[in-house]
Amino acid sequence: MAWQSLDIQRRSATTTPAPGARQATEVAKLIDISQCIGCKACQVACMEWNDLRGEVGHCAGVYDNPGDLDSQTWTLMRYTELENNGRLEWLIRKDGCMHCQDPGCLKACPAPGAIVQYANGIVDFHQENCIGCGYCITGCPFNIPRLSEKDHKAYKCSLCSDRVAVGQSPACVKTCPTGALHFGSKEAMKDHAEHRIADLKSRGFSNAGLYDPPGVSGTHVMYVLQHADHPEWYSGLPRDPKISPWVGIWKGLAKPLAIGAMAAITLASLFHYIIKGPNEVSKETEKEVENETRS
């Protein structure tokens, strides 16, 4: 690990805490949708940097190409044509991993070290540890991870942890021609967002705001939305994403409960045996049977 902020803060399927004495700067990517032209430079730069080449597909009547995230597509532009107050708005959202502070994928992952969260907040998948169960998909409130058809490993945006490790910005952020993407400390990104929101409000977007959903304890990828009161207008960005309560039970309560129950049964059996002794056929019964059989 090249940079101390890439120390590991959390590790999937690991019950003990990671070394955490050092205080790392939390990083974030800010996606300012009001400055995004949907050019897909981020998409191409992502594929180029990460050596990904998906299928050359088809046009399906929309600009969204490829049609969905997949193991070769870690970020994707999603386009929505919206008529609002008689004017057309083309809302274009760069979809991809949000790098939740409380990552549902990591919580759900059963493979130790397949998903880690660095001290700087980046949530990264390590395919060499991934077993391909897809629980991360189940755990993700944003529907991001995808299993590869080829190697059955889960993939998603790494926020270019390899670039961040050497002090560079993610490939998508560096390439963004219009400055819709920014990268820096989470604090700096929030400050920048504040300026952008003030500018948007001055241009008539009275509901402009920052999307940093508290349901997942905030994210390390945030959006500036023109209509923060309607995140769902942006190709179904969840209004209040949280880790699903089902996943919460499954990966929370169920675990100690089940282990406790099994341990209890084991111990109860053991002690029952010790205390009560075996249930053996009584001598009388044996005799009675002998009598009956003989008769």
Binding site: L6, R11, A41, V44, W49, S161, D162, T175
Partner: protein, 196 residues
């Protein structure tokens, strides 16, 4: 028989408890150390260039394998924006961000080829043959159709039966040299992509 069964049961239970408590203590049979991917440009060679697409002419950095030593075939493995360029400041559009695949396109031409009249396919030839045949074509056409004077007797020195279309993505140097050569040959039928 009963004893054996009991022993088996206890063994399984103990093994289960044992290994799981070891795991609880932090022992894991696969020490899955999380490591980030290596930075792939670490020891590559960086060359400054200009994106050949639109006229913003973004500065690009070409990253190639190797250090240009004699025995190494240089291969460009990554391209990104040049942060020093005052116009693009490190950014690239989707076209520029995909330059690597243009350089390495499966449709890059590698050898001179000719398609003979009426033929259904290409035939690979060498540069010598290509240059010779083309030069002979040019000379034959120029010699046959060169116009020294027009009907009014004015010296015009033109050749208009062979035409040239030039790229607007080639360098100034090759554009200039081509212009110099074709005017020197007397060509008037010339145009560039820039018109379109």
């Amino acid at each position: 028989m009963m004893d054996v069964t009991r022993r088996q049961f206890l063994k399984i239970t103990a093994a289960g408890l044992g290994s799981s408590s070891l795991a609880l203590l932090g022992f894991s049979p696969q020490p899955a150390l999380a490591e980030i991917r290596n930075f792939k440009l670490a020891r590559t060679t960086e060359t400054r260039n200009t994106c050949p697409y639109c006229s913003v002419s973004c500065g690009v950095l070409l990253y190639s394998l190797g250090d240009k030593s004699k025995n190494v075939k240089t291969e460009i493995i990554h391209i990104e924006g040049d942060p020093d360029n005052p116009v693009n400041r490190g950014t690239l559009c989707p076209k520029g961000a995909g330059l690597l695949d243009m350089i390495h396109s499966a449709d890059r031409l590698k050898h001179p080829e000719v398609r003979e009249p009426g033929a259904k396919d290409w035939k690979r030839i060498g540069w010598d043959e290509a240059f010779d045949r083309i030069a002979r074509h040019l000379k034959a056409d120029r010699d046959a159709n060169f116009i020294k004077t027009n009907d009014a007797g004015t010296t015009v020195n033109r050749w208009n039966t062979t035409g040239f279309l030039a790229s607007s993505a080639t360098s100034n140097e090759s554009g200039y040299l081509l212009h110099k050569v074709v005017r020197g040959l007397g060509v008037v039928s010339l145009d560039t992509q820039a018109r379109i």
